[in-house]
Point group: C2
Chain length 359, copies 2
């Protein structure tokens, strides 16, 4: 039984109309739609249109400002802090990345920390904005606390992803985009839907014991930092998640650690905030601030070609360069459509009804 | 049977004299010694004085320039590329980090890629240089290829560490410093000396099969990226190692991937280099380029205090903040001395004889 397929354009029109209905200015609705749907195109279904009703529920609760005034509140030649004015991260993030790129054009690099924002879709979208400018892009964000530090039973960090996009010449760009946990929450959601067990090392129970129940985080358990356990380096995954949290929120003045407001509207934000909204961090580095862009990109081609042609373990088809699977999925789904889980389609139909938009 | 203990000052004098004997100018010998011994003080024994004879063997082979002219060859307001002139990484790295800090003083941040360098000791040393300036410091380096990308049998990456140092106020700084592999090579060396098996997930055989032999990398096998296997996120560890390689070497013009020259003098560098020497990458970000330093540092105190006091899994004493164990070790070893494995002590005695320096 395969999921029904929807054309990209029809999903795009639907999301665009919903964003307009909740009061997004036209240009912001277009931007939010582009960011949201890019996740579906790249195969990161957990971050795409499946989340649309979640964003709307936050708006319903007045936790999202549909028409934010995104503005710089502090800056230096190569840095800025942006106040997202409670807007959709889908809008705030690309605007902040645009500022990082403009800074880089003049200062060589640009680094923007963002406060008072919300969930920003896939990190890779924002990092990839740098590519067309012959820049390296970086994006990270903190998120609702679901992850326990090594040796702890408390959920103090989000899955805090990092994306790095690096331009090449004839080869496609290197695009890494990954949660700093052993497995992204989206992978657990897939197992929950299928009623399947998770591998050991992805989640722990509320007392910190090993578990294979993908629902563990819903009953007081937690996701585990990249590395799975201390012996296999989970303290390094904790370092990564902590780094993302501090750059995104302590630098910007957003909420960090257990104070990050939850994405789901049915959970209230902590009553003792330490900052405003959630935080992101973006970077753009002009390649030719280091060496001539053509020279750099030729070497990137050589790097990518060498790694892609590496001898494989028997039975493995190829070594995957970061970004390969998502780029291939993007081309495939743009041509042939995007499959949606029937529950997601049902949810969107309900959403459409509420706003008088046809799904 | 415990290892004999040596006073910090006596090891320092010894290393300083050796560096002078091979022709390091006085100020560079002092710097190299400080960087090298910091590893011993912080308990990262694999990167400290145990490596001194290795550096000297590289110098013997004319692969290290004892009196380099470390210079900027390309720059923008917030970036520079530094040519290490074949010098000791122990000297080149802190000089490059100094340039990053100076850039940050003016531009808000400073980012320096280095080519034509050698092994730089512990990444944490260089990142921590930023702290006294109320800056965040970052340091990374590529290294001799020992690590196979996910699905591959070829050793294409080094253990490519990342360090991030973040200042706090009354709390000690947050200092993460970790190899982007499941286990650092130094941990395998310890198991080799003790003739003990490695946990599954640290190394693979030359055909890519799982192994517990800590000597695997010496017979065509490889270390595994952080994550251990695909199911537990080794592709993310590969992303991290690749990122470090590209920032350190493709941005700077150093050798990358399998072309990185080996640290051990008995292995010849590849005959078809793609750049010069090994590469590093450093960053410094002025905290007050984002928000007032005092405000930031107070929130860091809050962050650290909250995480350190997190409820632990039963039987675990505490949640470890990155940098805690190394700082405690530093204090302890400065006061009570540094233990050296008898083989290391014997090696240093031989080295001393060769140069007429008493060990």
């Amino acid at each position: 039984m395969t999921d029904p397929i929807y054309a990209y354009d029809s999903l795009k029109d639907f999301a665009l109309n919903i964003f307009k209905k909740i009061g997004c200015p036209d240009d912001q609705a277009v931007l939010a739609t582009d960011v949201l749907l890019r996740a579906d195109l790249r195969g990161i279904d957990s971050h795409g249109i499946a989340r649309l009703s979640g964003y709307v529920r936050l708006w319903d609760k007045k936790r999202v400002n549909a028409a934010p005034n995104v503005r710089v509140v502090h800056e230096s030649p190569s840095t800025a802090v942006v106040d997202g004015d409670g807007g959709l991260g889908l809008v705030v993030a690309p605007k902040a990345m645009e500022i990082a790129i403009r800074k880089a054009q003049i200062a060589g690099t640009g680094w923007v920390a963002v406060k008072n924002s919300n969930h920003f879709g896939i990190a890779g979208y924002h990092a990839m904005m740098a590519l067309e400018h012959d820049m390296i892009g970086m994006a990270m964000t903190n998120a609702s606390p679901l992850v326990a530090p090594t040796f702890s039973v408390e959920r103090l960090l989000g899955t805090n992803p990092i994306a790095v996009a690096i331009p090449a010449d004839n080869q496609p760009a290197f695009v890494a985009d990954f949660a700093t946990t052993t497995a992204a929450n989206g992978k657990l959601e897939i197992l929950q839907r299928k009623n399947q067990a998770a591998p050991v090392g992805w989640v722990q129970t509320k007392s910190g014991a090993s578990s294979t129940d993908p629902n563990e985080a819903k009953s007081g358990g937690a996701l585990i930092p990249l590395g799975s356990d201390r012996e296999h380096g989970s303290h390094k995954g904790f370092c990564l998640g902590a780094w993302v949290d501090i750059f995104s929120a302590v630098l910007s003045g957003a909420n960090y650690g257990p104070w990050v407001p939850p994405f789901v509207a049915f959970l209230e934000p902590p009553s003792d905030p330490v900052g405003e909204g959630i935080g992101h961090f973006f970077g753009a580095m002009r390649v030719d601030a280091f060496r001539p862009a053509q020279e750099f990109k030729s070497h990137m081609d050589n790097w990518i070609t060498r790694f892609r042609s590496a001898k494989t373990i028997e039975g493995q088809e190829r070594v995957i360069i970061p970004g390969d699977p998502e780029r291939e999925m993007h081309a495939q789904r743009m041509a042939h459509g995007i499959p949606l889980n029937p529950k997601v389609a049902e949810d969107l139909k309900e959403l459409g009804k509420k706003f008088g938009v046809n799904f």
